[in-house]
């Protein structure tokens, strides 16, 4: 076990760098805030021009009483647009990194389809060596067939078995947990929709999407995956997320012909403090809710569902590994 014990490295460098950073930035912050008055900016400190403009224009431009939402989805909407696709790219990365080899629903036949090209490639590179390796490969697969295909991976992708894996068995919690979660879920669900519908919270769709993830995780904790697999499965969620992304792109693109600018406010405004007040802000916020809620759920369940993607080694391998490392260390 001592091998597993973790040590800290370069502790002195860490302390020196952290303390230097603390000193420099701390001194700057304190001198900027003027040492006195508890360090806060005084009431006379003017707001930056863009902040004051957001305060003054939120009502006339968007009929919304939430300047923060007006900044997020309106005045700095293009920034949020970029951020959305940064999130999208991150979710795609997580999906790519975590996706295990998929169970096949039907016959795809890439080995057969690529056979001709593979032959040409091998002829182009032309060495007798290649011929030999392909010969060897045939021999290997023939051997496998003789053994009755007892190996874990079939010789070609075309031989992958067809069918889906069984769903995880539900790990139900105690009756107290399940009942209280059953009572809480509708309330939380409504709270999530309320955040996005009334545009009452700064950020609208972002916190609402996070609440949605909370609702789904609570249901998962209480009832297990089998009960939520109808909603939380990649086939559904990935499409929902892309619908959110497409809605945002469409919303911005329609502004181009109608207002002359990408992301221009073209949705008609409704009276303030109503469901549709904010016009474009509200549509953007709802699309963002769909995008963030489904995206975060995909990421969390992708991490939860990561399977061992390697061939298990036996004990002797481990020992060899360990011995090799001891050697390297000494």
């Amino acid at each position: 076990m001592s091998r597993i014990a973790e040590r800290t490295h370069r502790r002195a460098v860490g302390v020196v760098l952290a303390v230097c950073f603390l000193g420099v930035v701390g001194w700057t912050l304190l001198s900027v805030s003027g040492w006195g008055g508890g360090g806060q900016l005084s009431a006379e400190t003017p707001l930056p021009a863009i902040a004051r403009r957001a305060m003054l224009q939120a009502l006339p431009a968007f009929l919304t009483t939430e300047p923060v939402s007006a900044v997020v989805y309106g005045f700095r909407g293009f920034d949020t647009f970029g951020e959305t696709f940064l999130l999208f790219a991150a979710i795609v990365s997580v999906v790519v990194l975590t996706r295990a080899k998929e169970t096949r629903h039907g016959f795809i036949g890439e080995e057969r389809a690529g056979h001709e090209e593979q032959q040409e490639e091998e002829q182009d590179q032309g060495g007798e060596q290649k011929e030999q390796t392909s010969g060897e490969r045939d021999a290997q697969s023939a051997e496998r067939e003789e053994e009755g295909r007892d190996t874990s991976s079939p010789p070609t992708p075309d031989d992958e078995p067809v069918g889906t894996q069984e769903p995880d068995r539900a790990q139900a919690m105690t009756v107290i947990t399940r009942t209280s979660i059953r009572a809480m879920l509708p309330l939380l669900l409504v709270a999530g929709f309320y955040l996005v519908a009334e545009n009452y919270s700064p950020g609208g769709g972002f916190p609402a999407g996070a609440v949605m993830l909370g609702v789904i995780l609570m249901a998962y904790t209480a009832f297990g995956y089998a009960r939520i697999s109808g909603v939380v499965n990649p086939d559904v969620l990935e499409i929902v997320e892309q619908v959110g992304a497409v809605a945002i792109v469409a919303l911005f693109a329609i502004g181009l012909p109608l207002t002359g600018s990408f992301g221009g406010s073209w949705v008609p405004l409704a009276p303030q403090e109503t469901l549709r007040s904010g016009g474009m802000l509200q549509v953007f916020s709802i699309s963002e809710f769909v995008e963030v809620g489904s995206g975060l759920t995909i990421a969390v369940f992708a991490l939860l569902g990561m399977r061992h993607d390697w061939v298990e080694s036996d004990e002797s391998d481990d020992e060899e590994d360990g011995a090799g490392e001891e050697d390297a260390r000494s």
């Binding site: 973790e6 040590r7 800290t8 490295h9 370069r10 460098v13 860490g14 760098l17 952290a18 950073f21 603390l22 930035v25 701390g26 912050l29 304190l30 805030s33 508890g38 360090g39 806060q40 900016l41 005084s42 009431a43 400190t45 707001l47 930056p48 863009i50 902040a51 957001a54 305060m55 939120a58 009502l59 009483t65 939430e66 300047p67 923060v68 007006a70 900044v71 997020v72 700095r76 920034d79 949020t80 951020e83 940064l86 999130l87 991150a90 979710i91 990365s93 990194l97 975590t98 700064p202 972002f206 403090e273 990421a299 969390v300 991490l303 990561m306 061992h308 993607d309 390697w310 590994d321």
Partner: protein, 122 residues
């Protein structure tokens, strides 16, 4: 005493920096990075505040005042709050990608010790 917020943000950031520099456990390094991100939220929100300012909300102005009075008055900076929202989402996205990478690294090398993940060393 908003200066306490500044110093707390700074301390949390330095703690994260120290963890990232001294720890070789990838999961702990990800936690350190998350700490550094989180400290920026505290800093951004504290910098938005001015002495005695109200939240940037134009709802229900007090009697005798209009929404425009609030807009002209002493309010916290809404742009910094927006930047904080943006930072939270980016932070979540970065952490998710890092954790997925960490799990894959652990599966591939059977270790979360960055020193034992040597394949990329030139």
């Amino acid at each position: 005493m908003i200066v306490v917020n500044y110093l707390a943000a700074l301390l949390v950031f330095c703690l994260g920096l120290y963890v990232v520099i001294t720890q070789r456990n990838i999961v702990k390094m990800v936690m350190g990075l998350s700490l550094m991100e989180t400290s920026t939220y505290v800093l951004a929100l504290s910098l938005a505040y001015r002495a005695g300012s109200t939240a940037p909300i134009l709802l229900h102005p007090p009697a005798g005042k209009s929404e425009q009075d609030i807009a002209h008055g002493n309010v916290a900076d809404p742009v910094l709050q927006n930047i904080c929202l943006t930072a939270i989402v980016i932070g979540v996205a970065v952490t998710a990608v890092l954790l997925a990478t960490a799990v894959r690294l652990a599966q591939h090398y059977r270790s979360v010790d960055a020193d034992r993940i040597r394949q990329l060393r030139g």
